[in-house]
Symmetry: C2
Subunit: 480 residues, 2 copies
């Protein structure tokens, strides 16, 4: 993605609409919100990711000669519009929630304020990137929550939906909490740990399993994880691994990290047997790692069953977010500013009431309990509203406005979530390193109670509207 | 993908194993099979796709200086191995099933015959590409089967799992039968139709819906699909669309293609109402198209309900293959040739019996009924076996070998599915254009009876083993 020109990574209708605005001389400034409607996998939160790539995309937006030629060949664009595209640069402002932040439905993750032509063009790629990485970061956070402190490795490249999906998916998985990835390209691009040892084919290429293990241990004594399920885990794999570990010990070789990996069978039963066999041979510090269609539910179940696995390689179900493979983020017009005047709020109605949008040029405040630092709720309001945390704060559910909560002044703190990242088309935000985003995300996760992190019927966090925003929304609904 | 260097798009363990083979002087030639175990979405077939990108990847495999520097920085690779990598070129042979072919579980889609070091390196990227595109091509074939001749458009870029996922996913969707895609980059890269009109934001940017429609119709009279559900489909959207169509008709403007699109609400009910309203106004040729979380099941259900939609825009559920978002292809060692001798078959056992592999250097014959041209079954055999279609052919199920079928000589035809695509590291196969692959795929789908294409409990196609292969497999199982 860093070298592929993504300018044409857009739906055709963005360009036909753009030409429409161009030809009708519409230079209005529009506010578009990117937000999502439902948390993945029935959870109570998501993790925001992908901003670095969105900024990169915006900064590199540029129609090359071959792009213009291609568009001309479609026979629907006029020369004056193609001429405009040939020198196109994004000139607007973008606000976004920092990567790694815990997020909730209906709050703008990215807000674009730009001439409507420009804001329209970037819709598709922006959503593609944010939807993908937020999905995988969220899934990773869930898997890591189940692993409860054990290391989780992202191993899904071969099952990812294409190269980028594997590469940026691994980036997002690390943001969400994974210790490392098997994907070497992600390691190179983002300076994150890469992990991995050998496959069944390594074992099968030797005359016997013992020789395969022995050779591997001689080559890589310091990261010596032996895959024990090629032939028979309990009767061949583990005994051969113990034989090799014993020979290493007898030869005075100490390993930084050694152990076994299992990729099939009943992982609860086999890991308990394995632990006993390893312990009996004096290898109490040998790590038992496992893979094979793991996800957060299976890891939690294995832990409940007393499995002795302490290192988890998670592939397909993480890199595709298998039970919920799309994030569902949308990009909706919220306001229009004509000739430098005020922003006029816009609303989209729908036969499906959940598709009705929040109008206006908005921002989001996160409200924390001052004592615990945990999230009390989020408040979406208009950008010109301000709050004094020494005063009482009245919150109400926009769907059930009679349900009110008063937070006493001094009992809460507030933080604005949307930060400016692009100003007049130029990046003014420098993305942290991925491992630093992971650290930030780990702190973010601590702002949620366990009740909101559990998998079954988790406690939802309130995302409220300010009175002013609520009134404008109702007024537009009534007008329509 | 065409410009990003994908050489490091690999799992770390491929490189650690490679170094292991390098240091132990293992120059054996290995046969690896890429195959899948279960058809997506409970179907009875899949569609093979991605070969063009695999060939492209193989031909561009090359470690650049920055790649070598990065690998050195990991502290696990020796200088002599890094030196070897710095001039690395793939030198082996690859056989594959042509893109667009109907395929079945357990048959090798791609067979790699190469020095084991080289064959190992390419595992991850090869699987990533084939898994992704075969998944989406298969889903598209299912959606198009449900649409029963209506046009299906791929509209999923914003919900795809990253840029490549959208771009190559759209390529695969077109192979599987989609008429076009909204993704302009895919259109440019693969010379396939791009489609699309406008979004809700277009409507909302105008003072009223009528003006938005009118302006659009003036700009694009020849592909004038108006989105009618921004405010109220039946009371506002369709009446305004009819008003604009009437004005066009009155002005003597004829349109190549015009109609309405609905993106929310009860599509069965609304489309029937819309059809009547359009017909009553004399617009019998106006097309009713729809989007909104469509998939093969919903399209089939809408058709059963008598929906009047004849053009389908399918997004999220197609581009992510939502109900089954991974293809599950694997890459397994099947044989090893030492010092130019015979290929020695290799088998992988497993606690999970479905993970036991088919050993040997194999090929696949497809058997057709001579009269109908429909598939009778597939036969996996060793490369040195040959068949005479004038003779009777005995087939048996490898899982239930007592169930035998005799095909009388002359009643069937056979076609070898694996074709050589790379020879000594050089491409010897020129991939057809995507629209030609689509045509080929449409013919392929006709080789299946409807009984195998239906969604509920479809009739499985037999994939049998030759007697010789079956005996070798049993012998290796008994030895182990």
């Amino acid at each position: 993605m860093s070298t592929l020109n993504l300018t044409l990574l857009t739906d055709l209708y963005e360009l036909t609409m753009m030409q429409g605005y161009f030809k009708t001389g519409n230079h209005d400034v529009a506010v578009f919100d990117a937000f999502y409607r439902n948390n993945p996998s029935g959870g109570a939160y998501a993790i925001c990711a992908g901003l670095e790539q969105v900024i990169d995309y915006i900064e590199h937006l540029s129609f090359q000669k071959e792009d213009i030629d291609y568009l001309r060949s479609l026979g629907i664009f006029n020369e004056d519009f193609l001429e405009y595209l040939s020198t196109f640069k994004f000139s607007g402002d973008i606000y976004a929630i920092a990567e790694g932040t815990v997020i909730f439905p209906r709050e703008p993750l990215v807000k674009v304020v730009a001439p409507i032509m420009e804001a329209q063009l970037i819709e598709t790629a922006l959503l593609n990137i944010i939807n993908h990485q937020s999905l995988i970061a969220t899934k990773a956070a869930r898997v890591c929550y189940a692993a409860n402190g054990d290391g989780v490795m992202e191993f899904g490249l071969r099952r990812a939906q294409g190269p980028d999906s594997g590469t940026y998916g691994a980036r997002a998985a690390i943001i969400g909490g994974c210790k490392g990835t098997s994907n070497v390209l992600t390691g190179q691009m983002f300076d994150v740990p890469v992990l991995g040892t050998h496959a069944h084919s390594w074992i099968m290429s030797f005359p016997d399993e013992y020789t395969a293990f022995k050779t591997y241990a001689q080559l890589y004594p310091d990261a010596c994880t032996l895959l024990v399920d090629t032939y028979d885990t309990l009767n061949s794999g583990i005994p051969n691994a113990i034989r090799v570990f014993t020979e290493m010990r007898d030869a005075g070789i100490t390993s930084k990290s050694y152990g076994i990996r299992m990729d099939s069978g009943d992982l609860a039963y086999l890991s308990k047997k394995a632990r006993k066999m390893l312990d009996d041979a004096g290898f109490e510090d040998a790590i038992i790692s496992a893979s094979n269609d793991l996800d957060e539910y299976l890891i939690q179940s294995l832990k409940i069953q007393g499995s002795q696995i302490t290192s988890w390689g998670v592939g397909t179900n993480l890199i595709t977010s298998k039970d919920n493979p799309s994030f569902g983020g949308v990009y909706k017009l919220a306001a229009i500013q004509k000739d430098g005047g005020d922003f006029v709020p816009k609303i989209k109605l729908s036969e499906n009431s959940e598709k009705v949008t929040n109008p206006g040029n908005k921002t989001i405040y996160r409200i924390y309990d001052k004592e615990t630092g945990k999230i009390r709720g989020d408040l979406i309001c208009l950008v010109d509203e301000s709050y004094d945390t020494s005063q009482d704060l009245k919150l109400f559910d926009p769907n059930e406005p009679w349900k009110k909560t008063i937070l006493p002044g001094g009992s809460y703190t507030m933080k604005e979530l949307l930060i400016p990242v692009i100003k007049n088309g130029k990046a003014i935000y420098h993305s942290p390193k991925v491992m630093d985003i992971q650290k930030f995300c780990n702190k973010e996760k601590e702002t949620l109670w366990d009740e909101s992190k559990r998998f079954v019927n988790p406690q939802k966090i309130h995302v409220d509207l300010s009175q002013k925003l609520y009134d404008i929304r109702n007024q537009l609904l009534n007008q329509a």
